[in-house]
Amino acid sequence: MVRGFGWAAAFPDEVWEHVFSFLAADADRNAVALVCRAWHRIERRSRRRVFVGNCYAVAPAAAVRRFPEVRAAAIKGKPHFADFNLVPTDWGGGAEAWVEAMAEGWPHLEELRLKRMVVSDDCLELIARSFKNFGVLSLVSCDGFSTAGLAAIAANCRNLRELDLHENEVEDNCLNWISHFPESFTSLVSLNIACLEGDVNTSVLECLISRCPNLRTLRLNHAMPLEKLVSLLQRAPQLMDLGTSKFSADHHPELFFKLESTFAGFKHLKSLSGIWEAGPAYLPAIYSVCESLTSLNLCYATIQSPELFKLVSRCKNLQRLWVMDLIEDNGLIAVAASCKLLQELRVFPSDPYGVAPPISLTEHGLVAISAGCLMLHSVLYFCRQMTNAALLTIANNRPNLTCFRLCIIEPHTPDYISQEPLDAGFSAIVESCKDLRRLSLSGLLTDRVFKSIGASANRLEMLSVAFAGDSDAGLHYILSGCKNLRKLEIRDCPFGDKALLDNASKLETMRSLWMSSCSVTLGACRQLALKMPRLNVEVIDERRGRPLESWPDDFPVEKLYIYRTVAGPRSDTPPCVWTV
């Protein structure tokens, strides 16, 4: 007797499993699972990778139960604005519930990637003990653990291939955690410890590197002195991805020579980062690898423009460049001329609070890049001035943009020539760049830009808005348009109750909505929560100790985080968070 559609039984399960194995995208696998019960069953049993964009959207036990054969999991916790200290530190995002459920239900787990979660040492110890074939641990923007937890991972994960610690806050209480890798341990392929603050024992690290022939990625932390770095790197000429430590020291010609020849020995180096505190004296040692680099991250390198220019213009094959605004317009014009394969550019501010005299980095630099780099699709750009004309030019030059994040440092900055709002410029971007998936707005903006975005940005998945708009119309335009919107984060905009309530059902099609310092009242949140039971409406208020129930409907909501969930209200809310 065949259940479901007859044709599904035309082939045995294994055949369907094999077919499904070609579906890489989760969205495709989700679609397949909805076709019939048989496919649902086959798909769930064969899914190997799970991505949970919001750790509270589903209960860990439910996820583990549904997909029993998962080998790789990625989970995200706190809202994006936690990066900018807008989310209380005790908001949540603890990893224990997930790690415990996974230890229970996924003993064959090999890869775990956590982002913006609170991971304790106990969690790390549990991970180390529970998964026999554990290979990849990636912690990005997490906190709550120490090097003692890392020692547990090092000691117990015999088959560890990747340990990727990216921008975490790590307590340093176990200085020699690296020595916990046993002598027999040789499987390391990737090690990123750039975020650790403490000293790492260089000789132990050297031993580790020497016995791991497959090591391809090594990103060191700031603390290691340059001399030690040189002797370390000589052990790993096969590296493809290097993050150096501090790149300055008192000038010794001998040291420079050694550094230079070490770099000359890297035949496979594609990606370079670190270069903390680069002194001009040692930078030329890198020149020999520039030609082969595809990725260069100088966002912590406070190098001045002439040296930057010399370095970057040698990197003819660069696809990704992250740099400080010290590169200035001239430097970017040079990049536009030399780096024809550039796909992603990020320019960070060296002086965000404007204390030093202004750097000569303006809209001209970005325009030049958009004209010269035909493959450019991803931009993050901090600057102090912009014009509609420049944005229009960029839009026309680069209709292939998929990610455009512009941050004009001063809120409410208009077009500095015409004094107009930047509506026309950003509208041009969304109208021209049909594949735009991520957009961050800044500068002076009225509701008009949101009208354009709502109407044109059909592929947009993530939108960040700050200090923009005039009224609820702005929010309404976004929520009633933007078919593919998944994440919306808003701060300091005059968006209020009406737009939110009018578009309540849209919120269930999105992963999450963050609104802070807007004009939403508690009454609207209550209504929304009533209307949409599958949303968690979290009101965050750090000022008051009294419970939410006692406050009236017109109470202004300081911060609001709304996300869809099938797990109901969470049980780990701290005192400053109320699920309405």
Partner: protein, 330 residues
């Protein structure tokens, strides 16, 4: 239901310019909202002078406010009276700071175009003397806290011959030699500027026995006293309303006088743990990396976070000054 900040009522002397064509276009969807957006469009700097009857003398305002300044919102918005995220200007005696900059962000968003425009011109054309508004806003510009801390740490370590990223003149910083005098000069410079290179200084604070650390922005406190009061409110009394604790002038912090059974310590950039309060506030800001609130009963036995990493046989007596001091506090 509250419309977007009740902006309609905000603009005195309703000198509403004719709504721009773009706004008044056929837009049934936006019909409910048109009344509000029309008003706003009149106050753009591009159009006839200062729009909406904005007071020219009004402080250029951006960011978040207490609402204690001029009644922006004209009483129509109850929430204007509630304090928002407290920024530095909410705290008393900020000394070197020039005209505090704040604004009820959503209500006067239309006033901000003027502010933004003038401010923008001022910034691009010449260096203004007062602090730029973006300093006052929490989490803006949107740079990861991790990155900000890294840059701050880098600039602290670059007080010597290397050019600092926040130095006003390259030459000046190159003249600062790497010696005690140099460091003192640098600290004085930092204090003089008020909020120069160390603007948003988030450091972690841990309380003994509490697994969850907090972060505080040290640059928003003018003194040890206010910091200690804030820490008290944060850690020792969970349900305290923040307003009343910070403003009680004569009350001294229990943390500082030792009567609470806790002391505050900090780790400086050399990795040593010191008792908070011994150095001038400005110097403290330039060397502090993180804070720890310790129980005085365990003062002689340090917590597990301290043990091996900071005890060197060669450490100077100064490093553990806190032990003799804490005895004095008990």
């Amino acid at each position: 239901m509250v419309f977007g900040g009740g902006a309609a009522g905000d603009y005195s002397s309703g000198s509403m310019a004719t709504p721009e064509a773009a706004v008044a276009e056929e837009d049934m969807v936006g019909k409910d909202y048109v009344g509000i957006s029309e008003v706003s469009s009149s106050s753009y700097p591009g159009s006839a002078g200062v729009g909406g009857g904005m007071d020219e003398e009004e402080e250029l305002e951006l960011g978040l406010s207490l609402g204690t300044k001029k009644a922006v919102g004209g009483g129509g918005t109850p929430w204007a009276d509630y304090c928002r995220i407290l920024t530095a200007e909410d705290l008393p005696s900020m000394g070197s700071r020039a005209s505090p900059l704040s604004s009820s962000s959503s209500v006067s968003s239309s006033s901000s175009p003027i502010a933004g425009g003038e401010r923008c011109n001022g910034r691009v054309a010449k260096k203004t003397s007062s602090n730029p508004p973006s300093q006052m806003v929490v989490g803006w510009p949107p740079i990861r806290a991790y990155r900000m801390n890294s840059l701050v740490n880098q600039s602290k370590e670059n007080t010597s011959a290397h050019t600092t990223i926040t130095s006003t003149h390259k030459k000046a910083s190159q003249n600062i030699k790497n010696n005690k005098t140099g460091e003192r000069i640098c600290c004085k410079e930092i204090e003089k500027k008020g909020r120069s290179s160390v603007n948003s200084l988030f450091v972690k604070v841990n309380l003994d026995g509490d697994p969850i650390g907090r972060k505080v922005d040290l640059s928003s406190y003018p003194s040890y006293e206010t910091l200690a009061l804030a820490l008290e409110a944060m850690f020792l009394r969970q349900t305290l309303v923040l307003g009343s604790s910070i403003y009680d002038g004569p009350r001294t912090s229990k943390l500082l006088d030792g009567s609470s059974g806790f002391i505050i310590t900090y780790e400086d950039r050399d990795g040593d743990w010191m008792l908070v309060g011994d150095v001038p506030w400005g110097m403290f800001l330039s060397t502090v990396k993180r804070l720890r609130i310790m129980k005085t009963s365990g003062a002689s036995g340090l917590g597990k976070w301290d043990c091996q990493s900071h005890v060197h046989p060669s450490c100077s007596p100064g490093v553990f000054r806190m032990i003799p001091h804490s005895e004095g506090l008990l």
